[in-house]
Structures are given as structure tokens and as C-alpha cells.
Amino acid sequence: MNTSALITMLSTWIVVIGFTSYFFIKVLKGNNDQNQIDNGN
């Protein structure tokens, strides 16, 4: 791969993977109590 392609790809991937992990970890660590399930109808 040429350098500019590699830099573009890796920097984009790092940013995206970083944000994805950050927010998902926040979700996992956050309050997970949801409403009571009711599928009675």
C-alpha cells in the first residue's frame, strides 16, 4: 500500500474504533436497568 492510502485508512480506522469502543464501554458501564418487560399482549 502506498503511504498516503495507509495513513488515511489507519487514521480513519483508529478514530472510528476508538469512538465505537469508548461509547460502547460507557453503555456497558452505565445503568443497565431498563423497564420491566411486558409482552403480554
Binding site: F19, T20, F23, F24, V27, N32, Q34, D38, N39
Partner: protein, 616 residues
């Protein structure tokens, strides 16, 4: 400006999400669709390679993320008043008479898109089956491409299963209906919890294979890095072209599933103080991970590894769907019988999970609407969704070649999204009011939303959406924006006005005719007769067999051409009774219009009823 509904909640939420992770996965599953794997890489190839990521990320920040925040927070807000579909969610944001009818788009888009989306989903189901059954083993590239064309022709069965396309469509629809009838947590959420991780697993496996392709091994001509290099090498000149920016904005719409009404519907099942900001970002970025990381590392690297850059650039003209269904099974074949079956299951399986988690989101708004407004139970509401999709979807199955599928995709899956997103951004920022809107976004938030988003939401996003809409309305021919002038300019056939007036032009402009004329210059590749019909396959001049167009004509008439003939546009090909494509195109538009008006009528009835009951 703010004049909102201050009434107390009118109904207790009967359904809710089982867990926060389940909600985020369901939202991510809603967003992740075929477009992540098939549309994004093709758009990137056609719009400047690596430089496409710049307008793409800018669009994500100024359009995508703000729209996610708007849709999540307005959905949760409407849910507090017992509303789970956009007509009354929008009404809860502002009591202006028009908004509940604008909200009709949020049910209409989902139903109309589901009608053809479930059909695509059924292709992936069928291709998983054929990958396991080894149908593609030993087929040439030409035959694999031909298999897809034959699959789409429901009148004959050359795939071994009678009426296969209809069978798989009905099967897929039944599965969707069954899952929807199980409820939000036991159906939709459970599917997302299984589907999304599996999809990512399959994607990682294929991306690994794609990146690690080695020239000379398994018949590969180039390494996987060749494809990545091609996809990610920036062509900065393309940034000066407005077409590239519009393509990036369009991709953000498709990929995040904004402007549809399904996000509001899912978010409406949240409690008043539950987080929306962090959840929205998490689901949004999960989608971006699948698109930018996995989506860029599968189709293009594998295709270039076997076919080379020039051929793949040519094939992207078919769009992502053509590349996936006409080409990929042949490429997997090169990996040997076991690995090709595995790769086929992984590739079409991931597309299936991407599809079903999206189509379930499309079914939820109408189910919620029928439950809220007409007090239906979930099962009959889900069944009704299934029947509506069967009725609306069958024309796309039966008349695929006549352009019904493309019409649904254009009007419901493209134009309506932009229109709805534009109105909801204006409603949220300028009518609901940014002060209340910002408070709503931040209530219960697990992250601090940067203040810049407040200004983006108020000024930039609505203005950009208006610009995108006007550009789509008046897009110039050949995307040559330098031709724009006060004295007028030729319109692109794909512009909204161009579409309305059939600007693309046709050699067969009448609904019914006694002759059929060639629509293109090219060569007759094959002619055959089957089940009382002639099939004429023409390869456009300068193109390869993947681009062949098949015309089906009644065998009671007389063919005027034979195999090997060169044909030119407007040349008569056939004499006999013909129903032209333009008939099917116009009828599809009427059907979509009738659907929109029908939903509007239901909204009107529901509103009148609520007024009488004083519950709105």
C-alpha cells in the same frame, strides 16, 4: 415559537426494552444494512477513493450525529405521551396542524422500504442456501451472473426450486412477522442480540480473508492490499466536486437509517430520564465501525484481488447489489468447496442479519401506531404489517425487471428520507425550540454533548438538509454544477423533477403498444423461448455480460432480431402486444402515493378520535 403539547401521558407503556445493551444493539442493527457492505465501498470508489472519507466524516458530524440526537430525543419525548410512531411524536413536539401529517413519512418510508428491502433480504437467504448446497460450484463467472438474472425472473425456475424468488420472499416475510409478533424485547431485541454479534463475526472473518489475499494463491491475481490501496488512496481533486459532497451526505442518510422514523419509534420505548446521548453515539459509531472498517475490507479487496482494478471499477457501475450477487459467489468459488461454502454463508449470512435487524425496525412503527391509536394487540398488528408488505412487495418481486423495485427505492428510500429529515430538523430546532431540545438531549445523558452540537442542530443541520433537498430537486445533467445559471440548466434524469417528468427518455413511451423498440445500442447476446415468453438479452455497447439487460416479451408476437445481431436504440425488436416499463413505473408511483394518502387518512381518523376522547 414553542407551542407544545403539555398534556400528561395518556397511556402506560405496555412494552419496553429488556436491557440497555439490547437497545443499542437493536438500534445499531437498524442502522447496519446492506449499504454498509455494498453501497459504501462503491460510493468511495466512485467518489475519490480515500478522499471520500473527508466529506463523509464532515457529513457525519453536521448531518448524521445531529439527526441521531434529534430522533432519539424526540422519540423518547413522544413516548412519554404514549406515542410510538412519528405522526403523534411530531404532534407532541408541536401542535401545529401540519406536523402529524409530516410524521406520516415516518410510517410511509418504513412500509415502502420494507416492501423491497424484505425482497433483498430474501435473496441473501436463498444465497446462503445455495452456498451450502454447492449450487455455484463449477459455475463460470458468466453463469454466476446469469444465475442472479434467472433468480429474478419468477415465471421460470432454473435454480431447482419452483418460484424460488416468491418462496424465499414469503418465507422471509413470515420470519419478520413472527419476530415482530413476539414483542419488542422477546422478538426484536433478542434477534439483535444474536444477529449483530454474528454479523460482526462473519464480517471480521471475511475482512481477514480479504486483507490477506495473496497473489498466486487460490487463483488470486492481486493481494488484498491492492484493493485497500485503491479504495483509500486519496484523490483530493474530487473534493471540489459538489457531486462528491452530495454522495457523502446521501451515504450518511442511508447508513444511519435517519429520516425514516424507525429510530424515533425505538427510542419512544425509553423512560423519561434514560440516556439518549450516549446510546445514540454508541449505536451510531457501531454502525460506522461496520461500514468503514469491515465494509471497506470485504467486497472491494476480494473483487480486485481476482478481477483487477479496471474490471472492478467497471463493475461498480452495476452498484453494490450487482457486485455482491453477480460476482462474489464466483470469487468465493476460487477458495475451494469447503471454504467457498463457508465464505458464502458468512457473506450472505452477514447481509441477512444486517437486513433482518433493519426490516424489523421498519415494521415496528406501524405496529406501534396500530397499538397506540386503534388499540390493536401486537400479534394482529404484526400480521397486518406482514400482509401490507406482501401486497406492496409482490409487485417488486413480479415486476423487478420492469423497474418497480427501483421506483420504490428512489421515492421511498431516497427522496422521502431527505424530505422527512429536513422537516424533523426544522421542527426540532425552530418549532419545538432549541432550548427545550437541548435540555431534552442532555436529560439523563451519560456523556456531555459538546455545545457545538447545539449550534449545529439549530443552524447548520436544517440549512444543509434544505440545500441537499434543493440540490436533489434541481440536480444538473451529468452532475455538471458549473452549468447552473439564472436562465436555467438541463436537469439530471435522476433529479426529482427529472424523474417526475421521465427525463431519462425511453424508446417505448406509451403504456401499451404493438411494437417494442430497443432502449439501447448493443449486441443481442441470447434469445430463448420459455413458458410462452421470449427472452432477449442485450449487452450494452462497450460493456460486459454482467451489464446485460433482459427483455421479456409475449411469445404470441414476432421477434424481429436474433442472437448475435447488433441493435441500436429505437430499432424495433418485436411486433406484438407490449406493456411497457413506463406503465409499471407510473403504477408504482400511484401505489406509493395511495399508501401515503391511506396512512394520512388513518392518522386523521386517529387524531379525530383522540380529540373526541380529549386524549391529545
Amino acid at each position: 415559537m414553542s407551542k407544545t403539547n403539555q398534556k400528561l401521558p395518556v397511556s402506560i407503556k405496555a412494552e419496553a426494552w429488556g436491557s440497555r445493551v439490547g437497545l443499542v444493539l437493536a438500534m445499531a442493527g437498524n442502522a447496519v444494512g446492506f449499504g454498509n457492505f455494498l453501497r459504501f465501498p462503491v460510493q468511495a470508489v466512485q467518489n475519490g477513493g480515500g478522499a471520500f472519507i473527508i466529506p463523509y466524516l464532515v457529513s457525519l458530524v453536521i448531518l448524521g450525529l445531529p439527526l441521531l440526537l434529534i430522533e432519539w430525543s424526540s422519540g423518547r419525548y413522544g413516548g412519554q405521551f404514549g406515542h410510538h410512531s412519528t405522526p403523534f411524536i411530531m404532534h407532541s413536539l408541536h401542535r401545529g396542524r401540519i406536523w402529524k401529517y409530516v410524521g406520516v413519512f415516518g410510517i410511509f418510508c418504513n412500509i415502502a422500504i420494507a416492501a423491497y428491502y424484505c425482497y433483498m433480504e430474501s435473496w441473501t437467504m436463498s444465497y446462503v442456501y445455495h452456498s451450502v448446497a454447492g449450487t455455484f460450484n463449477g459455475l463460470s463467472q458468466h453463469d454466476v451472473a446469469g444465475f442472479f438474472s434467472q433468480y429474478l425472473d419468477v415465471t421460470v425456475s432454473t435454480t431447482g426450486i419452483p418460484f424460488e424468488a416468491i418462496l424465499f420472499f414469503v418465507l422471509c416475510l413470515a420470519l419478520n412477522t413472527w419476530i415482530l409478533s413476539k414483542g419488542l424485547s422477546a422478538g426484536v431485541e433478542k434477534t439483535a442480540k444474536i444477529g449483530v454479534p454474528l454479523l460482526i463475526l462473519f464480517g471480521v472473518f471475511l475482512a481477514w480473508k480479504g486483507i490477506n489475499l495473496t497473489p498466486g494463491e487460490d487463483g488470486a491475481v492481486f493481494g488484498g492490499s491492492e484493493g485497500l490501496n485503491f479504495l483509500w488512496t486519496p484523490n483530493y481533486d474530487s473534493l471540489a466536486n459538489p457531486k462528491v459532497w452530495l454522495a457523502a451526505a446521501g451515504q450518511i442518510f442511508f447508513t444511519l437509517s435517519v429520516g425514516m422514523g424507525s429510530i424515533q419509534c425505538y427510542a419512544s420505548y425509553l423512560k423519561k430520564n434514560e440516556d439518549v446521548a450516549c446510546n445514540a453515539m454508541s449505536a451510531g459509531f457501531m454502525n460506522e465501525f461496520v461500514e468503514i472498517v469491515l465494509g471497506s475490507a470485504i467486497v472491494i479487496p476480494i473483487a480486485i484481488g481476482y478481477l483487477g482494478i479496471d474490471r472492478v471499477v467497471d463493475l461498480t457501475g452495476l452498484g453494490g447489489l450487482g457486485l455482491a450477487f453477480r460476482t462474489m459467489p464466483f470469487l468465493f468459488e476460487q477458495w475451494g468447496p469447503v471454504l467457498s461454502a463457508l465464505a458464502g454463508v458468512a457473506f450472505f449470512g452477514l447481509l441477512f442479519f444486517a437486513g433482518i435487524t433493519s426490516s424489523l425496525a421498519m415494521g415496528t412503527p406501524i405496529v406501534g401506531f396500530l397499538q397506540d391509536e386503534f388499540k390493536w394487540r401486537r400479534k394482529p398488528a404484526a400480521m397486518t404489517f406482514g400482509l401490507i408488505i406482501l401486497f406492496l412487495g409482490l409487485p417488486t418481486v413480479l415486476f423487478f425487471q420492469q423497474g418497480v423495485f427501483d421506483e420504490y427505492d428512489y421515492w421511498a428510500g431516497t427522496v422521502s428520507l431527505v424530505v422527512f429529515a429536513m422537516f424533523e430538523a426544522i421542527l426540532f430546532a425552530w418549532f419545538f425550540g432549541m432550548k427545550k431540545g437541548w435540555a431534552e438531549i442532555n436529560r439523563g445523558a451519560d456523556i456531555k454533548v459538546p455545545l457545538v452540537f447545539k449550534y449545529l442542530l439549530q443552524y447548520v443541520t436544517p440549512v444543509v438538509l434544505i440545500v441537499v433537498f434543493v440540490s436533489s430537486l434541481l440536480r444538473p445533467a451529468n452532475d455538471d454544477w458549473s452549468k447552473i445559471s439564472l436562465t436555467g440548466w438541463p436537469l439530471h434524469p435522476e433529479s426529482i423533477i427529472g424523474k417526475l417528468i421521465h427525463k431519462e427518455g425511453t424508446a417505448n413511451p406509451k403504456y401499451f403498444a404493438d411494437r417494442y423498440y430497443s432502449e439501447l445500442d448493443g449486441k443481442v447476446d441470447s434469445v430463448w423461448k420459455q413458458s410462452y415468453r421470449y427472452y432477449v438479452q442485450v449487452i450494452p455497447a462497450g460493456k460486459t455480460h454482467e451489464f446485460a439487460q433482459t427483455f421479456t416479451l409475449d411469445a404470441s408476437g414476432k421477434l424481429l432480431i436474433s442472437k448475435g445481431d447488433q441493435v441500436i436504440k429505437n430499432q424495433p425488436l418485436y411486433e406484438g402486444r407490449v406493456i411497457n416499463r413506463i406503465f409499471f413505473v407510473d403504477m408504482s408511483r400511484l401505489l406509493l402515493l395511495a399508501l401515503f394518502l391511506g396512512i394520512s387518512l388513518l392518522v386523521h381518523i386517529a387524531y379525530t378520535r383522540r380529540k373526541k376522547e380529549n386524549s391529545i
